[in-house]
């Protein structure tokens, strides 16, 4: 493999009820997106601890995306509203520390939005690829 063909690594946390199902629907409809995207299922976007996001970066992820039900549609009524606040603050803090804000994203993807899921992942993968390797939140020990 050529050096400049380095594939970015993207961790996508998807809530079980909407976004994971949206990803399944993208699959059902054979809507492709880069294989760099690896999905971790969580019951709700509100299960995602900022620690998980930092951990992913530490371990070599170049981008982390969180997908949940649209605000108002949370299976658990309010989980994604808390997600929205937590991530707004976390992302703002990462930016404050000089870490590229484009490496983190929250998207609301419903179970019916297979196409949106695929489009979102394509777009995010492209954005992250353009940023290059994650240097500012890396742990060199994990990169050998």
């Amino acid at each position: 493999m050529q050096v400049n063909e380095r594939k970015p690594l993207i961790v996508a946390f998807c809530c079980n009820w909407c976004s994971y199902a949206g990803a399944d629907l993208a699959g059902n409809n054979r809507l492709s997106y880069p294989a760099d995207v690896k999905i971790i299922k969580v019951p709700c976007s509100c299960r995602v601890n900022p620690m998980f996001i930092l951990r992913a970066f530490q371990r070599g992820a170049d981008g982390v995306i969180l997908c949940g039900c649209h605000p108002g549609d949370c299976h658990y009524t309010s989980g994604n509203y808390y997600t929205r606040r937590r991530m707004a603050l976390l992302f703002s803090m990462l930016d404050y520390l000089g870490i590229e804000k484009e490496r983190t994203r929250v998207e609301w993807v419903s179970a019916a939005e297979g196409a949106k899921f695929a489009a979102t992942m394509n777009d995010f993968a492209q954005t992250v690829a353009a940023l290059g390797e994650n240097k500012r939140l890396e742990d060199l020990r994990c990169k050998k």
Binding site: Y81, L89, M93, D95, Y96, G98
Partner: protein
């Protein structure tokens, strides 16, 4: 205005001990020098001879109430400066001690001084410090330096947010007002830098961290029975930062865990042996919270709902957060 002196506080403490209102006093104890004051528990009038009160009494006693209220069947007397009262309320909101077991005496404060700033002016070898609007420092090298108190105020006092007590059973002297402070200026300055500059700034600051945990251990919001960074079962546990990632990780998580709960008391920056401006991380969250969700001052009211355990359906999206400030 009634001048708050050491003798006034001791008198108050003695009378409360003697009339049985309290059986324990949290106060500042004299050290080896004029500045190295230790928070201490005084159990009787006799022990109060070592009680001091001056411009070095910065320590926030709120956190000590968690353990000390458990030790008494009566009440603990605590002296609270305005900023301490916010921490006091926040701890009550989180059910960390029994309000019934505390007798809180509010005392006005016109700012504490920073020995590090004094030493930078006087040099090493401080023999004596006389406090007042003008501070006189004499050294063992027979030098005397006069310093304006304003020049050596502790950083958190320079940007004091409130002279108002939000909790007390009894107030000595007069209460002040919530102030329009410039406490977010530094944060704004950083926000206005480029991402590269910010990265370099924080990389530089955080690289000095020696993970002594003083910031965490002094923090009145950090009252976990077991901190995630100490718990071997936790995936982030560590005793030292291996690299800049772990430095950032620690400080992001530390600040995040107190986001919406931090009263901006400034103890973290005060105790940092490496002078890392940790309050600028906490203040960033406070500023964002104010901007995103409406002004919120942790500890202003007991029982208020912290921004991270609250929401509205109209909150801004995380993608807008960086631009939204």
């Amino acid at each position: 205005m009634q001048k708050i002196t050491r003798d006034l506080l001791v008198e108050k403490a003695v009378s409360l001990l003697e009339n049985g209102t309290v059986d324990m006093v949290l106060g500042w104890k004299k050290g080896e020098f004029d500045y190295d004051i230790t928070p201490a528990v005084f159990a009787d009038a006799d022990s109060l001879k070592d009680f001091v009160f001056d411009d070095f009494c910065g320590a926030n006693f709120s956190k000590y109430l968690i353990s000390n209220t458990k030790k008494t069947a009566s009440k603990v007397l605590v002296f609270l400066k305005p900023c301490d009262t916010y921490s006091f309320n926040q701890l009550l909101t989180e059910h960390r001690f029994d309000r019934e077991k505390v007798y809180a005496v509010g005392i006005p404060c016109d700012g504490m001084v920073d020995i590090h700033k004094i030493r930078a002016i006087s040099g090493e070898g401080i023999a004596k410090i006389e406090c007042g609007e003008k501070i006189t420092v004499s050294t063992i090298y027979d030098e005397t330096v006069n310093i304006e108190k304003a020049d050596v105020l502790a950083e958190r006092c320079v940007t004091c947010k409130s002279k108002k007590h939000v909790a007390y059973d009894e107030l000595l002297g007069e209460d002040g007002e919530v102030l329009e402070s410039a406490r977010f200026d530094e944060v704004e300055k950083l926000e206005n830098m480029t991402a590269d500059e910010r990265f370099e700034f924080w990389q530089g600051e955080l690289s000095r961290c020696i993970r002594c945990n003083a910031c965490r251990d002094v923090c009145p919001a950090c009252t976990c029975e077991k901190c995630v960074f100490d718990n071997p079962a936790s995936p982030v546990e560590n005793k030292a930062a291996a690299n800049s990632f772990e430095e950032k990780m620690f400080h992001i998580i530390r600040a995040f865990h107190v986001a919406g709960r931090c009263t901006d008391c400034g103890e973290c920056s005060r105790v940092c042996p490496q002078h890392i401006p940790l309050h600028l991380l906490n203040r960033k969250f406070i500023k964002d919270i104010d901007n995103f969700y409406g002004e919120y001052q942790a500890g202003e009211e007991v029982g208020s709902r912290a921004p991270l355990v609250n929401y509205t359906t109209e909150d801004l999206e995380p993608g807008e957060a960086v631009e939204g400030r």
